[in-house]
Point group: C2
Chain length 357, copies 2
């Protein structure tokens, strides 16, 4: 089978097949989400995530159907009137648009694709939305810049979209109020599950909205999610099999060690960027080195896009298309824990030896 | 492995394991939801469902994360001010409450658990919500009564919650505007996917709300769902594996034949109700025969509940607990296509021979 390098859904973590077969043997597909067995699975998944990502107590973990759902729930539960969005690509923009669709006063600082943001300044907004890793362009905002946003905005809630970067980044969670991701990227799982972390400031904000008579949604509002999560349950029947797989994959990543995973991610990213920089026909899209994502590497491939993609596919690698308007002039390469060093060494060799007519 | 008779998540359809293994071999867990492969899978699933359930053209099929999500999306997209809910148990009540949580003027006709509704009358509401099969109590409303609700209310939109009855009922879809279900009940699949059918009156209603400046939600509003479904796509990354499994299970059910499935469901239900009626210590909960659900059979088991459940479990059957306050005095038995005639014959024998001290 070819190796999937699209940034999500991406390559499955190599243990997922075994875990799925084990789930079938254990009858996980038929268990009740109100059963002790489910509560245990859910508890193992969230405790494992907390350990793997280094999330302090005071953060709650909730399961959603996707990160897209979190965009909507975050606006519903954390914004009465004003949200502010740092926009540098299609996904940060979508979060901004969702706030508008929900009739909030949404504002944005927008910068060109391939770039990130200059010095942070004070912003008058209840919620500030930062996309840590813009999947469409391969830009990651630097962690010190996130700290600066917090420093200038102590009163705002800050939410970080880490969809295509976790488990790689070691966030300072004490600076953040909410972080979320979906499992089909860095966790190497089949799509259909999102994880939403929030602190008590978020809970208080949702309570405030309720006390003002504002609807915060129904089954997936923060207060209902919290009440259920205290029992390691969910408000409605969730993707039980997905939560089981997450509980297992997180254990696998813990066994491998988060430091190893981060080191290998750095190594693979450096190798791929060097290869692109040294190439005569293709280049890294993101110019500023400190803005280059470690987990989604985007290459300017111009009119060689199709030739390079076909060449890589012939050798067993499925590169991701460029996003949107750049579909035919860029390729994207996910660099997730599911992708091994050996695969990236082979990929780098292939790209180096590629020469279009 | 024991046979799961809880009404959802319930027993997996016997082909699900093979389909999951095939999905792993085909790399379905890594495909993009924007790929041709996904579009084909999605098209096979919805075309198969249309054929299996006898849904006429003019109805659109959308994927959600659960039926619970449909409750919320239906209120957001189909109700400006007023919804009306026929309530006869916990799940019909939850739909009613969600409308209240979303600040609509929700009204309800509530009848005691174990009963359904008398003659329908004209109702002044934009949306009328009917729960075809109350999973908590084992009551199914008769199809002629649904026709009566339509007759008295030609202008209202009528939505039918068929979560724990489809694919069994043959609805007259020309009388309905929307029907929905989730896959972990009658379709014998792992939880994490809902299917929402709507007609063009629903689409028009959502358009009207938008033209009045009312928010209908974001990524899963009806207009965005429709736009994406025309390409056999979804607005956000869905449970791809779930949609794949649905496409396969629906083909299996088509091969078996919906008439056979309905006949077998009738046979198994008749057998179980007769067994309960003939028993000295346990009885059917629902008294009126025309209100007895064919797909979720509820038994009054009183202080024999634990003894009967333990006896059945010892012999390989996991009965479902009673719902809510009736957890310790009732048992629920799902009668889905995943449950064979032979299993029900054995179950009936076991119940007949059960005698508590």
């Amino acid at each position: 089978m070819k190796i999937q390098l699209a940034p999500g859904p991406s390559e499955l973590y190599f243990t997922v097949g075994d875990h799925l077969r084990q789930a079938l043997r254990e009858g996980i597909g038929s268990i009740s989400h109100r059963s002790k067995t489910f509560e245990e699975i859910s508890q193992i998944a969230t405790a494992g995530l907390r350990q793997l990502l280094g999330v302090p107590p005071g953060f709650h973990f909730f399961f959603t159907s996707s990160a897209t759902e979190v965009w909507e729930r975050a606006i519903e539960n954390l914004v009465e009137k004003t949200s502010f969005h740092y926009v540098n690509g299609a996904f940060s923009k979508r979060f901004f648009e969702i706030s508008q669709q929900l009739h909030r006063q949404a504002r944005a600082a927008e910068v060109p694709a391939g770039t990130a943001f200059l010095e942070a300044s004070p912003i008058d907004a209840e919620l500030i939305a930062i996309t840590h890793n813009e999947t469409s362009t391969g830009v990651a905002v630097p962690l010190p810049w996130i700290a600066q946003v917090r420093e200038k905005n102590p009163a705002s809630l800050i939410i970080v979209d880490a969809v295509s970067s976790l488990p790689y980044p070691q966030f300072d969670y004490s600076l953040l109020d909410s972080v979320f991701f979906s499992v089909q990227k860095g966790f190497g799982m089949p799509a259909g599950l999102g994880v939403w972390m929030v602190n008590d400031r978020c809970i208080s904000k949702a309570e405030q909205l309720v006390s003002k008579g504002i609807s915060i949604g129904s089954y997936h509002n923060l207060l209902t999610l919290l009440e259920n999560s205290k029992k390691n349950q969910t408000p409605s029947t969730p993707n039980v099999l997905g939560i089981y797989l997450l509980s297992r994959v997180v254990q696998d990543l813990l066994n491998r060690g988060i430091d190893n995973i981060r080191r290998e991610t750095d190594y693979k990213a450096a190798l791929l960027y060097q290869t692109l920089q040294a190439h005569a026909q293709v280049q890294p899209f993101v110019q500023q080195k400190e803005w280059r994502s470690k987990t989604v590497v985007v290459a300017n491939t111009g009119d060689r896009t199709h030739a390079l993609a076909a060449y890589l596919e012939h050798h067993g690698f499925l590169a991701g298309d460029g996003y949107g308007a750049l579909k035919k002039s860029q390729l994207r390469f996910a660099n997730f824990p599911a992708h091994s060093k050996e695969q990236f060494e082979r990929l780098a060799d292939l790209i180096s030896s590629f020469k279009a007519q």
